[in-house]
Each structure stands twice: as structure tokens, then as C-alpha cells.
Subunit: 255 residues, 2 copies
Amino acid sequence: MPASPLFRRIDVAPAYQKVADAIEREIVSGRIKPGDPIGTELELVRQFGVNRSTVREGIRVLEEGGLLWRDSSRRLQACLPRYNKLATRLSRALVLHEVTFRELFEVSMTLEIASTECAVERATEEDIAELADNLARSEQVIADPAALAECDADFHVLVAKASHNRVLQLAREPAAQLFFPTTEMIVSHGAQGATRLVEAHRHLLEAIRRRDKAAGVQWTRRHLQDWRRGFERIASLDRSVEHMYMEHAQAVRRK
Amino acid sequence: MPASPLFRRIDVAPAYQKVADAIEREIVSGRIKPGDPIGTELELVRQFGVNRSTVREGIRVLEEGGLLWRDSSRRLQACLPRYNKLATRLSRALVLHEVTFRELFEVSMTLEIASTECAVERATEEDIAELADNLARSEQVIADPAALAECDADFHVLVAKASHNRVLQLAREPAAQLFFPTTEMIVSHGAQGATRLVEAHRHLLEAIRRRDKAAGVQWTRRHLQDWRRGFERIASLDRSVEHMYMEHAQAVRRK
DNA sequence: CAAATCTACTTTGTCCGACAAACTGATAAA
DNA sequence: TTTATCAGTTTGTCGGACAAAGTAGATTTG
């Protein structure tokens, strides 16, 4: 047994990791801005003094993390991680952890209400126009559960956008991605599910337009309670989110 | 210009991506369970019929996504994506999007209150014991801002854990990772900041113990308002979260 | 017989060199 | 001006190579 450690542990992170970390540092610190080119693989090989395979492994890590992407000509660029892609990863994690619909519902209720409150305060004319447009489309496809479910998901994304709080937009997305796909099932199951949904959206939009926070919150709550009642007619809230949803999310991501 | 497309677009995803997708499908679908070995690189080479470099690039993608990891002997295993790692990625994204402290504060207020409400309902004896333990430690390090800030962050993680809602735990984490590091600055700045913080924790724990939801919410709100007042003495809430915090988060992640 | 040591084998991380396909940019032809 | 051609880059993939670290089985030692 050595008397006392003479030397500190040396850093033995693999080279590809160091490459990834080095590039990540430059991007996160702001020295490389989104849109800036990173250089070709060969240039990186020369700069880091490692093999191209090693550089490529490092690049894959950052590409997956959403910090790098390849433009149309496949050249490397720094970029801002897209919320959507991150949210998909999170949703996947929630599925694997087998969270229940009760957990999703609880959080969605909280976040959608917060979303509405902020939207009532801050929605711009443009936000309202987008919401109105969405509502008009919903009314047209009221008989088509799949299309209506998509409209519903979009509507709530738009409300979140109108909140002008990007943290909120990001925070609600993972639960929403798992939560809203069930809307199709629910709407096509119950009889007046579709009309109640559109009605709720109409009142919600009206509340945002009139800057009436209490009404906005009330209709958001009612809207989600409707979802819950509809869901409970089909399955238990304590059922865990299933792999089915993940496959749905993957299909969406790829298109 | 061709009259009409005779052929469908051929799938030209790179091989490493196909490898990653194939393994991901097996894991997400549940056919490979967390903890199951994936096999050695050479086995994957044989199964997929591609080069080892290609397999390795595919593996990197999944490793970064948190679906694969290498155990102590560096063999590949499927695993559940850790919330912590995902949250770090999200925090990084928030930094790059230059969100403001106001946005963080707004969402944290919402989620911490929700967290408290659920914790009051569902905290077990064990949860309460952990919180009490944390509180005792806080009282010991009340004069050490760095240690106290860490205790504070832990306290809120424990409250979220006591909510027994995993979606909530995950949803609050990204904002918290950026929000709480400022506690150190705030506590060391104001005079009674530290005592007020510990006092809030004490009341909060007491509320959870007594299942008193109103008191829990009230003290959570007061606690966060304290943070806000403290922060505003130092900087504007509309300042964007800075790169500094990201470096802090990276240091934490590595240890 | 149990514990420690040695040895042969496997696996990972890295490197090298190679090549086809796709893309770039510029020049030549219609 | 548009189209065709062509040489040079760059990426994606391949095959093979090797040192370091880990594994497991055989062997020695107490």
C-alpha cells in the first residue's frame, strides 16, 4: 500500500470524448455561434492531431446532442438544439421509465394552466391570429378524429408559444408528446367529445383575446378534465405509457 | 421535368444511423430490457454486416442518447436514460437559447409549487426523514454559502422526489439546474439570506409533515420570492442565463 | 485445499490507408 | 444563357493493424 498518493489521477477520457468536449466547449461558451462552420473532418483531424475515425466518433456525439448538424452539402455547422428533438428524447425516457398517465396528466394540468395564464397576459395579435386559424381548421375537420387530434396538439403548442416563455414551451413538450396522442382515441370513442374539444378551444381563445385570465384557466382546466373523463372511459389512469406511443413519436420525428 | 414519379424515394440513411435505429428499436420496444447486454462490437459487426467503425459510430449515438452505456468492464448494456443527464442537455439548450431568469423563475415557481402540493399529499416517512436530514445539514453549513446552496438544490430535488411523480421530477430539473446555482451568489450577498432560506425549508418540511397543503404552497412561494428579491439586488431578471452556469453544470456532471 | 500468480485470449480505443459516391466550382460547348 | 464536362473535395464505408486493459483458465505456492 502506498504511503500517500504522490500524484493526482490523470484524465484518461477517450480521445473521441475529448474531441466532443472541446467542440462543445467552444459552442456553449459562445466562441462558436450557431450557424458557424466547424470545418471539414480533415481540418479537425489536423487540429486535434487524432485519426479521422476518432474525430467522427466525437462528431456523432455532438450531432446526436443537437449541437452540430450537417447542412444540405453535409458540411458541419454549429446549431441551436431544437426543442422538438430534445423533447422526443425525453418522451422516450418517460416511456422507458413506464410513467403512468396519472403522472402525465398531473404535470400537464399544471403546465397547460401556467401556459394559458402567460398567454392571456402576453399573446400578440399574431399569436391570436394563429390560434384563430387553428380553431377554424379544427371546425373543418371536426369529424376526422386523427386530424382533430393533430389540431388539438398544435393548439396547445400555439398557446405555449403565446406565453412567450421558452422554458415553459420546453418543459411542457415531453409530457404533451405522450399525452396528446391519446386524444384521437378519446375523440373517436365518445360521442360529443369532438364538439366539446372545439368548444373548449373556442372559449380558450376568446379568453386570451379578452385578456380574461380566470376564464382562460377555467376552460383549460375543463378541457383537460374532459380528456381525463374520456380517457378513463377507455383505460385506467394508472396504466403506464406504452411503447405504442413511442413508435408514434418516432414516425413523427422522421417525417 | 419527369411527368410523374415512377419510383419512391429510396431510403438512404447512412449505415451508422441504421445501426443506431435498429438497436434503439429493440430497446424502446422492450425486447431488450435495461441491463441486458448488447454484445461486443465484433458481434454487432457480424450481425449487421458492416464495418466496426460504422458500428462504433452507431453506438456513440445511442450512448450519448443514454440508451446504452458501458459497464465497469466496458461491455455494452442497455440502460434507462438517466433524468440527470437529459436535464443537463436541456439546461445546455436553454443557455444557448439565451433564456432569461424571468422565464426560469416563472416556470420554477409553477413547478416547485406543484411539487410541494404533491409532496404534501404523498410524502412517505422515508421522504420526510431524508428532508429532515437535509435540513439538519443545512443548519450546520449555514455560514458556508457554497455548501448551503448545494443543500438547497438537494432539498428541492428531495421535495420533487417526495411528489412521487417522475414526470414532475424530470420537468423541473432543467430549470432548477440553471436556477439554483445562483443561490450561492444570493446567500453570500444579502445578510439574512441564509437564515431565511433555512427557515423556509423548516416550515416547508413542517407543512409536509403535517400534510398542510396551504402552508406548503405558501412557504414555497415565499421561499422563491426571497430568491427573486435577492437576485434582483444583484442583477436584472431579464438578463439571459449565462455561459458561466453551463460551465458549472459541466463540472458537476463530470464528477 | 485455498490463495496468489502467470499466461493466453478477447475486447476496446486508436490508427492507417483506401475507395466509391456525392458535392463543388470552374471551364468548355451548344 | 443554359448545358455538359471534368478535376478536386468531402463524406461514408471498408479492411486491417496494434497497444492497453480486461477476462478466464492454468499453474504455482503457501
